[in-house]
């Protein structure tokens, strides 16, 4: 429990910088955005109280907004994700499963993480793009944009998780 604060603070700033300096500068296609900052929200310990989740999500979202010049939009979307995260976790977790405090891709497994990230990114990016476009695109293009961006973001995020997560089980053996 001792390392929870520093590790999350470091993760906050690293993800923020990676997002605004790299992933938001790729500009591959106007229908394709890559967002990795939700990893911060999804990696917070399971026992984080809901109000703290909401506050931290909002902070992350507004920080991203601050750099991308879209003040409030990522904030609103991230806040929604932070609010719904405890429900999401309890719905997709099998009853009686004994989880560690922190979400870890080696502990919960790739299937659990794939579902966890898919639903979470759909909530976040779906709400973000809906807010951002304000009816500018027609519904078809909006759905295409959400699906394309969500899929790409999930793949890149899970790849990053594998790169930067240590397998705790390996240490025990």
């Amino acid at each position: 429990m001792s390392g929870v604060f520093p590790i999350n603070i470091i993760r906050f700033f690293l993800l923020l910088l990676a997002q605004v300096l790299f992933f938001s500068n790729i500009h591959a296609h106007p229908l394709l955005d890559v967002y990795i900052y939700p990893i911060f929200i999804l990696s917070l310990p399971f026992n984080t109280p809901r109000w703290l989740l909401m506050v931290l999500s909002l902070m992350m979202g507004l920080s991203v907004d601050f750099f991308l010049g879209s003040l409030g939009m990522h904030g609103a979307a991230a806040l929604l994700l932070g609010f719904l995260r405890p429900n999401l976790v309890s719905i997709i977790t099998p009853k009686g499963a004994d989880f560690e405090i922190n979400p870890n891709i080696y502990v919960q497994g790739i299937m659990w993480f794939a579902i966890y990230y898919s639903v979470a990114y759909l909530i976040l990016l779906g709400s973000y793009f809906s807010i951002e476009s304000w009816g500018f695109y027609n519904l078809f293009w909006l759905v295409i944009k959400i699906l394309l961006s969500t899929t790409t973001s999930i793949l890149i995020s899970i790849f990053l998780l594998y790169l930067f997560t240590t397998d705790k089980r390996r240490r025990h053996t």
């Binding site: 991308l68 879209s70 003040l71 409030g72 939009m73 806040l79 500018f136 695109y137």
Partner: protein, 281 residues
């Protein structure tokens, strides 16, 4: 009693959630005109600085490409120089001094792009020149390859440019061949494509025709390249053509741009207001 407390606790979280969402939407509403974001002047100077450092380090990686484009830009400017002038002819005198016969209409200030976005429905570009270098709102911005946008907000050292890839951007454009003009705006589907409308149906438009600025606004000089016709739609229920235009400027890899300053803008505005006053009477 315990249940009541638990209920209130859940209720309290919902209230917190809704009020924070309300705060976010208040920010979005405040921000929707974009101008207001610059009320946080200091904040933008900070993020502007971060982006400036980032652009400086990124600049090294593309020096070769930038050199090429600068050489091409020089050629382009040489070509353009004549078009920056209008010639004053006076029948009563024969003027021998060649400098006295022309009046400069446009000056250009070069600037570096420090932040560019193309993925939103309202895209903006930040450049590293601001009020201290004489940049003002409502100035046009072009690159060597074509038009880029329009300055919408200026701080001391930075300016925000509404990109052509912005749902609020409108510019008057014409077909170079036939001089018919219409409204040009972004359709939002691709970053290399804009839409030209209000061209009458009887006009012959072919794929590959050049679209340039009309010169009717004070934003851009006449005949600045915008792009080429990619596709023409003639819908039977409409009187006008809808034309997809492939942008000549690569909005994705902008690094050097020019801010256009119309020197006779005030004079035109005086004329404008005089005409409007005349019409009111």
């Amino acid at each position: 009693m315990y249940n009541l407390v638990r209920f209130l606790l859940r209720f309290w979280l919902l209230i917190l959630f809704l009020s924070l969402e309300g705060f976010c939407f208040y920010l979005i509403y405040q921000n929707s005109k974009f101008h207001q974001v610059f009320l946080y002047n200091k904040a933008n100077e900070i993020s502007g600085n971060v982006y400036l450092q980032y652009a400086a380090s990124k600049g090294y990686l593309s020096l070769g490409r930038v050199n090429d484009s600068l050489a091409r830009e020089n050629a382009f400017l040489r070509e353009k120089a004549m078009e920056s002038f209008i010639y004053l002819k006076n029948e009563e005198h024969t003027i021998t001094d060649s400098t006295a016969t022309k009046l400069q209409l446009f000056t250009y200030k070069d600037a570096k792009v420090i932040r560019n976005s193309v993925n939103q429905s309202a895209n903006y570009i930040y450049i590293d020149k601001g009020a201290s270098m004489g940049i003002k709102e409502q100035m046009g911005v072009i690159s060597a390859k074509g038009i880029v946008g329009q300055v919408v907000k200026v701080t001391e050292h930075y300016s925000a440019v509404m990109s052509i890839l912005n749902r609020n951007f409108r510019v008057s454009a014409k077909l170079k061949k036939s001089n018919f003009f219409g409204q040009l705006f972004w359709s939002g589907k691709r970053i290399d494509e804009v839409r030209l409308e209000e061209i009458p149906k009887h006009v012959n438009v072919h794929v590959g025709d050049t679209i340039v600025t009309s010169g009717y606004s004070v934003l851009f000089p006449e005949n600045i390249m915008i792009g080429r016709v990619r596709k023409v739609y003639a819908q039977p229920e409409k009187n006008f053509l809808e034309i997809d235009v492939q942008l000549s400027a690569d909005m994705n890899s902008l690094s050097h741009v020019y801010v256009v300053n119309h020197l006779q803008k005030q004079e035109l505005e005086i004329l404008d207001s005089a005409v409007i006053n005349q019409a009111k009477k």
